[in-house]
């Protein structure tokens, strides 16, 4: 429970985003408490990534309010939001391809490090946690997709956020790797009290990690609650899991 007045760490209040008449996010509200692992799920096109973009400042909402650690952040630039303590990963990974793996992460660490040496040292620590340390000298562009996913997480973690937005970081990982990632995230969540908001299709990870789940459908919230609860919600089953089951 963060803040003196019990305000959640991240509060999204009635946020609306339209693209050319299409409402991508339709009056979504949610609150994430410090230390939570919060999952956002929903079928493709439900507006999950747009919601992340709104929180991370990549796009500004048309209506509504986003608050973080007690202050309004909607409409702020991505770098300001990152400095405030929200890090993000991209669903379509965006490594710095021509730079080494360690430089990729060090650039994230730069934000709060005095100099490059410190940043690089911090980057090394994070790479160790994510089993990427041996590949630190390689160019990021040459990594395999799973490694690039991990790099994406490493870079975000390097900014030492209070809250991290993970956009489908499990997609494309092998089950063993998924498990390792899940373990690592849970570990960081516990030891550093890092709040995690994740978009995830890999239900195995969602069920394993999430304390609460929020379901979007056509841009609107249709359910929120504990994972087990939500998966039993008929609307959710119909909209999302139902679709999956139909496959």
């Amino acid at each position: 429970m963060s803040g003196p007045d019990n305000e959640p760490l991240l509060a999204v209040i009635g946020v609306v985003k339209r693209f050319r008449g299409l409402t991508a996010v339709d009056e979504v509200s949610l609150g994430v408490r410090t230390g939570e692992i919060y999952a956002v799920i929903g079928p493709n096109g439900a507006g999950k990534t747009t919601l992340f973009n709104l929180i991370a400042g990549a796009v500004a909402p048309d209506e509504g309010e986003i608050r973080f650690a007690g202050a309004r952040i909607d409409g702020q630039a991505p770098e300001q939001i990152c400095a405030a303590g929200i890090a993000r990963t991209f669903q379509i990974v965006k490594p710095f391809p021509d730079l080494s793996v360690i430089d990729n992460v060090a650039i994230g660490a730069m934000l709060r490090a005095r100099d490059m040496q410190t940043a690089r040292a911090q980057a090394g620590d994070i790479l160790r946690k994510l089993d990427l340390f041996d590949k630190r000298g390689q160019k990021a562009g040459g990594l395999t997709l799973p490694d690039r996913k991990k790099l994406e997480v490493a870079r975000a973690l390097a900014t030492r956020p209070k809250l991290i937005l993970l956009d489908e970081v499990m997609a494309g990982l092998r089950p063993t790797e998924t498990d390792r990632m899940v373990a690592m995230l849970r570990d960081i969540n516990r030891t550093d009290n890092l709040t995690i908001v994740m978009i995830e299709h890999v239900m195995r990870a969602v069920m394993a990690l999430a304390t609460r789940v929020h379901v979007l459908h056509h841009g609107a919230s249709i359910a929120e609650g504990a994972p087990a609860e939500v998966t039993r919600d008929p609307r959710v089953v119909e909209s999302y899991l139902g679709m999956k089951a139909a496959h």
């Binding site: 991370a56 990549a58 630039a77 991505p78 770098e79 990152c82 400095a83 890090a87 993000r88 991209f90 965006k94 490594p95 710095f96 391809p97 021509d98 730079l99 080494s100 360690i102 430089d103 060090a106 650039i107 994230g108 730069m110 934000l111 490090a113 100099d115 490059m116 940043a119 690089r120 000298g137 870079r155 975000a156 390097a158 900014t159």
Partner: protein, 333 residues
């Protein structure tokens, strides 16, 4: 300086020391013709590095760097001729004017999200705009040119950049070396890493807390300031300025050929490129003369083919390839 040494393997350090020693002692070893070529190569290396900070490090392709060169040249020359203010003070004015122009381009470019090829065309437009503007500026001679007095009694006034070719040679050497140290230091710094991040992926850089607009401005300012300083060199070295020559598109192209051929984004690429292209031009002139081919244009024709050939064969420039072959690779820390 320490960053520069840290960036090199042992072999590279030795090679660098040898090259520096050779360049420092060159006025004793070579004749004036060779020295004049070396001077051009050094100055080309300097300008190439200035451009490389913007493009190679930060990913902004400027095709109008002649703008800053011309503004710097005219600013310092005008202060000297019209108000008797020496070039050292003039250099500040030159830098200020260059940075002001960069600010205008940056403001338009970054404020209105003019990116990629559009940004490049914006830089060309500004340079051309300045060329025509100065052509029509009678106060500074307009198209008829602006001239600095050359008085024999001032020959030794180094403090006013009045000196012979050896003086300007060492000045060019110092500028090129200074640019190398600056580039290396920048590249190793947080700012330099912010440049690189933006070059690689601006959106990702933003998400990691890099203020892309501000950092791009800084890169643009550093590059423009260095280039404007180069303009001061040109003004006092050549003693005459013509808008059609100093602001010309071909000048901008000359500035960027060396770093691209040498290797964009590398520390030594602009230097290697300049030390390849300048002597290459001279060698072609000589070779054609040896063959008895006195046909104007033949040299440029071969030069054009060579440019196409080099850029096709070594996409990322000559230096990375050369460094690999010779084991002089810049270390990836």
């Amino acid at each position: 300086m320490s960053d520069l040494l840290a960036a090199l393997p042992a072999r590279g350090k030795i090679a660098l020391a040898l090259v520096v020693a050779a360049l420092v002692s060159a006025p004793l070893l070579v004749d004036r013709y060779v020295l004049s070529i070396l001077l051009l190569a050094l100055f080309g290396a300097y300008l190439g590095q200035a451009w490389n900070i913007l493009m190679g490090f930060c990913g902004l392709l400027s095709l109008g760097h002649a703008l800053y060169l011309g503004l710097g040249a005219y600013a310092s020359a005008a202060l000297y001729v019209k108000f008797g203010i020496g070039p050292w003070a003039g250099a500040f004015a030159a830098i200020a004017l260059g940075v002001a122009a960069a600010a205008a381009i940056g403001w338009l470019g970054f404020r209105f999200r003019i990116e990629g090829v559009y940004f490049s065309l914006l830089t060309i437009a500004f340079a051309e705009f300045a060329r025509i503007g100065f052509d029509n500026l009678p106060w500074l001679g307009g198209a008829a040119g602006f001239f600095l007095p050359v008085r024999a009694e001032e020959a030794g006034h180094w403090h006013n950049l009045r000196g012979g070719p050896i003086f300007f040679y060492y000045l060019a050497l110092a500028m090129a070396a200074g640019a190398l140290v600056l580039s290396t230091t920048l590249r190793a710094s947080k700012l330099g890493h912010a440049f690189l991040a933006i070059r690689e992926d601006a959106q990702a850089a933003r998400a990691l807390g890099v203020n892309v607009t501000r950092v791009r401005f800084v890169a643009l300012f550093i590059s423009a300031a260095m280039t404007a300083l180069g303009g001061v060199f040109i003004a006092f070295w050549t003693n005459n300025l013509f808008p059609a020559q100093i602001f010309d598109m071909s000048r901008s192209i000359d500035i960027i050929l060396a770093p691209i051929i040498g290797g964009v984004g590398t520390l030594f690429g602009p230097i290697v490129g300049a030390f390849l292209l300048v002597p290459l031009g001279e060698a072609l002139t000589e070779a054609l003369r040896e063959f008895g081919l006195n046909a104007p244009g033949a040299k440029a024709l071969v030069y054009g083919f060579l440019l196409m050939g080099i850029i096709t064969a070594t996409p990322s420039g000559l230096w990375p390839w050369l460094a690999r072959k010779l084991g002089l690779m810049e270390k990836q820390p």
